[in-house]
Symmetry: none
Subunit: 220 residues, 4 copies
DNA sequence: CCTTAATCGAGACGGTACGTCGTGTCTTTAT
DNA sequence: ATAAAGACACGACGTACCGTCTCGATTAAGG
């Protein structure tokens, strides 16, 4: 039995009368983009908890199967959606291969990256991202994915800043390690998770001047 | 009339005719404890995401209504369950009035506290706690509760260690601030959330020797 | 993960503003009747092939689970729905304990039952019933069920008529067997299945006068 | 941009790189035969209800389009499959021109034909055939095709036997009518559809000795 | 012989329905 | 009154097929 001797439906198939072109059936990358955009919209509007594959499919005007074919879990779908929409380090001029102007000091660069982290975390997308981490609590693979996608680039950007600082004599030579590079994001994320209140500019300033700078500065 | 001889009838409500005594019906505090224990067991076994009120009710051999009457949301139920089962700060040697032996250096004390944090975070209850924390993203009350219950004692303990270190001349005088005291927990929690893998002793060691010590040490 | 941290929806729960009474939630027999009525309506309107549990649930304003709790398969649901709505032999005065007027001859009684069979088979419900048999082709249990519910009563009614005929001297004494009693329904059903055209009164007449009467009549 | 590194990419379309030769692509009649064989296999193995075009395509190692191009509906596909695989009337000794030995009585001939009907109906193909027949309830063309292919030959054979019986003095002169000739097939088909259990030799015997013989015999 | 047009194989696509599960509410029965 | 049990209305889950469609790869035929 299983499924369907589902009545031969009188195929409507009318091309949405009024539509200019028949809205070509999308496939491949175009469809993928549409789904990701819908997923991002969905997660921004209703949040992660209320997020459903069903709604995304409806919003993207596609079938659930086309989504499940690409993303096995809700978390990975949301992750990709965020990835496609959130600014990457490069977008804000801090990517590993981005040139930073000579006049910018290490401290200023740290501020810039700190503010970006805070801004992203504070957006609706940031809330979604934190929620995805929830999912990752019991899911090693997902946790790794988040690390690779979100944290690794920032870690690299920070490492780059530290190395540049060494070259400029502002940072002590042994400070450019991953452990040190993780300190700033860790503090900001932790702070956000703890109190769930907006992080003020002062707090970012404090984290940098009271922790990062003392930690890395050349004792010259 | 000939109605539905086929229908699978709801089974007669006989109270398991073999049961000798019906094991006294619990109520009030006794019932509450049973539910919390079941919730804790559930969250430890299947994790937070797969946690369901239905399963808790089954495990506690009670009805869902008895649970909903007491806890409006899953998060609060789990939080209460954790609260009831997790060791208190004093139990793990982090109480504000716990004495540290003279012979212990600041670095050794930091190690001790780092290992304690890791041990608690790594337990099943810790996993649940992390999940509740992330769930609490939009819930200030929950966030505060967790902060007060889990993080505040550690912050206090760390501040105590730093002040003791200043007295012993091992720590520079201006390092005993809440911001600095939060660095170690932040790093460990962040690390845990990121990769969800067990944190090795080496990593704790690194966090302390590469970050905490350079950050706080007196420049002799 | 599985299901739902499905957003705490702001329960509308408004009792259909304007509704006189809150339309008490149905249960047990009342709900069952509503479902069967909906199923019958559905099968009559769209036919068996296009019949879906989903639509029945919608029409009966209940959930699918309440249907699946009672009927494991579509076929059994339809069967029960038909059973509840179709006339039983007793309804048409041919039940085993129904008294038949003295003045009615065996031949007339056979006509009456033949016409009833044809009428039922020709109704939308009859079409559905035939379709249920399709399902039964690979399903022994279902086939038995159909036999018990639909054919056994008619067989009994026919046997009753034959026995009455023996008492009246119109039927030879050894003709009142199940095999003989099945001949008329078999012919009519077979004829219906074969050509799918309406069966005329003449055809029923022929079946009776050319087959049944010669088969059972006393040779006196 | 950083789009969906997670997305499970459609696998590259390489033609199974280990396969030595790609086993010639079929078309036209050869392909058609392969599809019909697959459809027959499918209907024999899983039955008519669970039959799916998708499975047939997989089994025949072709695409769904190649099937839909040829058969618009499941029923027609199955019917053609049966048509191609089932034995023709002549193969089973029911052809109009098959000679019956002098020594065979009418009763013996009826037995022979009854057993043949039962054998065919009981085969997997017979089950499929019954299902198609029931499916054809609303499809006159299909109904006719089945009638012509399966029932007409039997009716003719039976009429032949009855006429031969008249000539031999075993059958009363007015019994050789289509209505009478349909009685035996009707009973057997009906019996099969009803209970879906194998029909024993005894049952065939009963149908003949309790119904056919009394019905047709000369009263001499 | 080499195009060129079919048509094949594979499977993505937009859908519908499946049967299951968990939600939070409600009802019933038995303490 | 409240506990236990579980039915109920609902909505989403992830899967299976539907019938249509697109996209190379293969072929058989025609120039």
């Amino acid at each position: 039995m299983a499924t369907s001797e589902t009545a031969r439906r009188v195929k409507a198939n009318s091309p949405a009368p009024g539509a200019v072109a028949v809205a070509q059936r999308r496939r491949g990358a175009a469809l993928e983009r549409a789904i990701l955009a819908a997923a991002f919209a969905e997660v921004s509007h209703v949040g992660y908890a209320a997020f459903s594959v069903e709604s995304v499919a409806a919003r993207a005007r596609t079938g659930k199967a086309s989504i499940y074919r690409r993303w096995p879990t809700k978390a990975e779908l949301v992750l990709d959606a965020l990835d496609a929409e959130l600014p990457s380090p490069r977008d804000i001029g801090l990517g590993p291969d981005c040139h930073i102007d000579e006049s910018v000091t290490t401290e200023q660069a740290l501020h810039r990256i700190g503010e970006t982290i805070v801004r992203v975390l504070s957006s609706p997308a940031g809330a979604a991202m934190r929620a995805v981490k929830l999912e990752a609590v019991d899911d090693l693979k997902l946790a790794d994915l988040i690390d690779q996608r979100f944290h690794e680039p920032r870690r690299a950007a920070l490492l780059g800043i530290l190395e540049r600082g060494i070259a400029r004599g502002e940072v002590r030579p042994d400070a450019a390690t991953p452990v040190v590079a993780d300190v700033l994001p860790a503090m900001l994320v932790h702070r956000m998770l703890l109190t769930n209140e907006p992080i003020s500019a002062d707090e970012v300033h404090n984290a940098i001047s009271l922790v990062m700078i003392p930690l890395v500065q050349a004792h010259g």
